[in-house]
């Protein structure tokens, strides 16, 4: 798969099969199902960021007419164990249980403490006010550096740091330390002509999906239940709910509704077990939907970080040593993305001597969840910034310094394996040759460039492909479609079967209608679920060949599949007409019955995806406002199945990265109460903030996928943080190593530089 291949359907841009329902408002999202007799659930949340729960009294709420059920942590039968949670997010089942509904303690403001279900949402809100909770308030720790001090209040007094030797005797808020080493960093720094060391700070930021979490749960009296939910993985939601409620998984049907964005944040349950328990208690279907404020306060943002970076570089640009130390806010429970942050940070480069240490630290903030390339934006912001500063000091072009050190096929990745074919050098070359890079920097502006990297994952997927009696095709798969993946599945099926895209439709099956599939996450869907779809189509081809052989009276191996038809192999003496899939379908009753293919797999060989972004920005020195004049995103997709949706991932990731670089941050008061829990004050980019985002898709095929797919979803958010920071540095002459580069921070930095 090293050569460019001409495909008939792959690489085209047809309209997605689920599109019409989404532009007309028919598509059903998590909060859209309406069931007869349905009631509405709401959650009571902690007013304290750190407190013991002395008692919860639900009785007055239950007395309010129209209230059908109420519950607190004591009502949850399951979920007390140290079993690790699957999927993209860290932590244990016990932590997940307490994050769904607190037991004896709350560790962040907004943590769920109790819930009610009532006839109307308004009535449910009234009932919440009647729940009596007695707290014993504890001191709060919010800053990750303060949390590591010996005197810091402990969130979990049993927490002994993992990953350090000797094992500490005293508990602390540091859950674990992840370390990767190679060579001798001290010696490496000795060899360098230039050594820089800097501090970097990245704020806690939210995924900011537009659809708040929502679900509808309906339990029956026999112990079975159906749950409609907005999720990146309904199989994992089923497993978590079954464990938390002690229910038989076979009795649970989870239906993935359309999902209004997730970016990692909808890989973990919040509402579903609560809604189902309320439904069990009330005997009625229960709808739950979070307010935007609840989404900000109580669902997973990603970690804010404090770290230091050190780099040693020779005059020719060769990196001799690099070191990163970075503390990640886990929030109230363990599970910051410290592993991938450490594994990713040096991956674009060949560095002989490095050390990276990342820490998972408890603070009284919401429990973090996966957010697009979890951990990499923070760690790579540090290294892509310090590398840029080194390039400036040495007078080397930022692309050239990266080319000098670029990883390529055969390079040993910092996390162990040797890279197979990868496309980092190709991305750098594409940047160098890009007209926007060759164009002069606009007068008064600054240009910044940075690279990104993400591993991508495979994991488990299932697909069934059914051929209808007229030869049209239904693909059933288990990956919620978060950004056009049904279209990609149809394109891969069309290419494999050799039939028109329009004759294929893909559906996302519920947990009782298709085989297990892991979350839509890790940039895995087009790669892994796509691989399952291709294999299921190949299963159909094998069956068709066998049926044609029987029809023609030849051996199976004397039949070939060519452009959607069974044909006799060259030289086979059979006076027969080629049989199309439609012909085979029409004759199915006589050749063995309906034609269906299936594949279930644990996809191996996910291909890393590299990116290079560059941008020109203008900074108003009086107001500190940064205007992004242009932005170019270049990324290796392996193979773009539907290029418009690949560009969409690149553009959307760029916008999120730009927002994080310039505006987005969680702001807390001293008591740990988030001060900007709404879209007015937590300002994500709006249309007037951004220019068009130019995309160039590089295609260095992944040899492990039948069509060369690498996966593209996560890499795009990484490079913008440092690209914007580097551009601001070049526009102003001042390096600001703390994000976001908001107007007050820029004005303060320019003032300080002016005085100095």
């Amino acid at each position: 798969m090293a050569e460019a291949v001409d495909y008939k359907y792959i690489g085209t841009r047809p309209v997605r099969p689920d599109g019409v329902d989404k532009v007309t408002g028919r598509a059903q999202y998590g909060a859209d199902p309406i069931l007869p007799g349905m009631i509405h659930g709401r959650i009571l949340r902690s007013p304290h960021a750190h407190a013991m729960i002395k008692s919860v009294n639900l009785s007055r709420a239950l007395e309010l007419p129209g209230v059908h059920a109420a519950l607190s942590g004591a009502d949850f039968p399951g979920g007390i164990g140290d079993e690790a949670i699957g999927g993209e997010s860290g932590g244990t089942m016990s932590d997940l249980a307490k994050n769904v509904m607190a037991r004896d303690k709350v560790v962040y403001h907004g943590q769920a403490v109790a819930a009610v279900a009532a006839q109307t949402p308004q009535l449910a809100l009234q009932a919440l006010k009647l729940i009596e909770v007695e707290y014993e308030v504890l001191p709060v720790v919010l800053d990750v550096r303060a949390a590591m001090q010996e005197s810091a209040p402990l969130l979990d007094p049993t927490c002994i740091t993992k990953g350090v030797k000797p094992e500490p005797e005293k508990p602390s808020n540091v859950v674990s330390v992840t370390t990767f080493n190679r060579g001798d960093v001290d010696e490496g720094f000795e060899q360098a002509d230039l050594v820089l060391e800097r501090e970097y700070i990245v704020p806690m930021a939210h995924q900011g999906y537009i659809e708040p979490h929502g679900c509808v749960a309906q339990a029956n009296e026999g112990g079975a239940a159906t749950v409609w939910c907005s999720t990146q993985g309904h199989f994992e939601f089923r497993a978590a709910t079954s464990k938390l409620l002690g229910m038989n998984m076979a009795d649970l049907k989870f239906i993935a509704t359309e999902i209004g964005g997730g970016f990692g944040g909808k890989t973990v349950v919040y509402l579903e077990p609560v809604a189902l328990l309320l439904s069990q208690k009330s005997g009625k279907p229960v709808k739950m939907q979070m307010s935007r404020e609840e989404v900000f306060r109580a669902t997973g943002p990603t970690s804010g970080t404090y770290g230091t970076a050190k780099i040693g570089v020779k005059k020719d640009g060769t990196i001799t040593a690099a070191k990163i130390w970075m503390a990640f806010e886990a929030g109230g429970f363990a599970g910051a993305p410290t592993g991938p942050a450490a594994m990713a940070v040096f991956s674009p480069y060949t560095i002989e001597n490095f050390k990276v240490e990342t820490l998972d630290v408890l603070v009284n903030k919401p429990k973090v969840a996966a957010y697009r390339a979890p951990g990499a934006p923070q760690s790579m912001h540090a290294f892509e910034s310090i590398l840029d500063e080194a390039a400036d000091e040495l007078g080397i072009d930022p692309i050239d310094i990266r080319l000098t050190n670029a990883a390529s096929e055969g390079t040993t990745a910092p996390y162990g394996p040797k890279f197979p074919t990868i496309g980092f050098v190709e991305c750098l070359e594409a940047a160098k040759n890009h007209p926007s890079y060759k164009a002069p920097v606009p007068e008064g502006a600054g240009r910044g460039l940075a690279a990104g990297f993400w591993f991508n994952v495979g994991m488990q997927s299932s697909a069934e492909v059914h051929v209808a009696e007229n030869g049209t095709v239904t693909v059933v798969e288990g990956s919620p479609d978060i950004g056009g993946s049904r279209a990609s599945m149809c394109l891969m099926a069309a290419e494999t079967l050799g039939v028109e895209y329009e004759s294929i439709r893909a559906v996302v099956g519920d947990t009782q209608s298709t085989g297990f599939s892991n979350v839509t996450g890790g940039s895995r869907t087009t790669f892994a679920t796509g691989m399952a779809v291709v294999q299921a189509c190949e299963d159909i081809i094998t069956q068709c060949k066998s049926r044609a052989a029987a029809t023609w009276g030849v051996d199976d191996d004397q039949v070939e599949w060519e452009d959607g038809h069974c044909v006799p192999k060259p030289g086979v003496n059979a006076e027969v007409k080629p049989l199309s899939l439609a012909d085979m379908a029409a004759a199915a009753a006589k050749t063995g019955g309906p034609i269906s293919g299936r594949a279930s797999l644990n996809a191996q060989g996910a291909g890393a995806s590299f990116s290079v972004n560059f941008t020109d920005v203008a900074v108003d020195p009086d107001t500190g406002h940064v205007e992004v004049l242009n932005f170019t995103a270049i990324q290796d997709a392996g193979k773009a199945i539907h290029p418009a949706y690949v560009e969409g991932q690149m553009q959307g990731g760029a916008a999120q990265g730009i927002g994080w670089a310039l505006n987005e941050e969680y702001i807390f008061n001293d008591d740990g109460v988030m001060q900007n829990a709404g879209f007015l004050d937590y300002r994500i980019p709006v249309a007037s903030d951004l220019p068009m985002i130019d995309c160039e898709i590089v295609e260095v095929p992944n040899p492990s996928h039948p069509y060369g797919v690498r996966g593209v979803g996560e890499t795009p958010i990484i490079a913008p943080l440092a690209a914007i920071g580097n551009a601001v540095a070049h526009a102003t002459g001042v390096r600001i190593n703390e994000l976001p580069l908001s107007p007050p921070r820029i004005v303060a930095a320019l003032d300080a530089a002016h005085k100095a």
Binding site: G25, D32, G484, A687
Partner: protein, 157 residues
């Protein structure tokens, strides 16, 4: 407090319903009338996902009370496609892949339609500022802007 009787026109048809006095138009549409095409993203007028037309004005339905719509005309996403099929904007959103998750799309289409009815030939900047009240977290807006530009060209022809 008892419910209030409201009669209003929605997408050209008269609807009568009972409404809690504190209920927002968004709640009325979604919960009382089952018209879930209008989406809730924030409930505070910051995201535009619940955009509807009220007597010809573009509003966030989460900032209007259901009782306020008595005797008025409302247009929602459910009324945008007509007997001739999809509206040009809907078609262009599909062709340009201007939606990923799609939850902001109904609001964008209502808002963009209001823009093009008022200004058939907007500049890119005018489109970006008009749509600045509609949040999208998936697309980076690029393909949305292009879809609206293309729809404007088709509608002018």
């Amino acid at each position: 407090m008892s419910k209030v009787h409201v009669a209003t026109q929605i997408n050209g048809e008269v609807h009568e319903f009972l409404c809690e006095p504190e209920e927002t138009l968004l709640q009325t549409l979604r919960d009382t009338l089952g018209m879930t095409g209008t989406k809730e993203g924030c409930g505070t007028g910051d995201c535009g996902a619940c955009s509807v037309m009220l007597d010809g004005a573009l509003v966030c339905s989460c900032l209007v009370l259901g009782v306020e719509t008595s005797g008025k005309e409302i247009e929602t996403i459910e009324g945008v496609a007509g007997e001739d099929g999809l509206h040009v904007l809907q078609q262009k959103f599909l062709e340009h892949a201007a939606l990923q998750c799609g939850v902001c799309t109904p609001g964008f289409i209502i808002a963009a339609k209001a823009l093009l009815e008022k200004n058939p030939d907007p500049t890119e900047t005018e489109i970006r500022y008009w749509l600045a009240g509609n949040l999208c977290r998936c697309t980076g807006y690029d393909k949305i802007i292009r879809a609206v530009q293309d729809a404007a060209v088709t509608l002018r022809a």
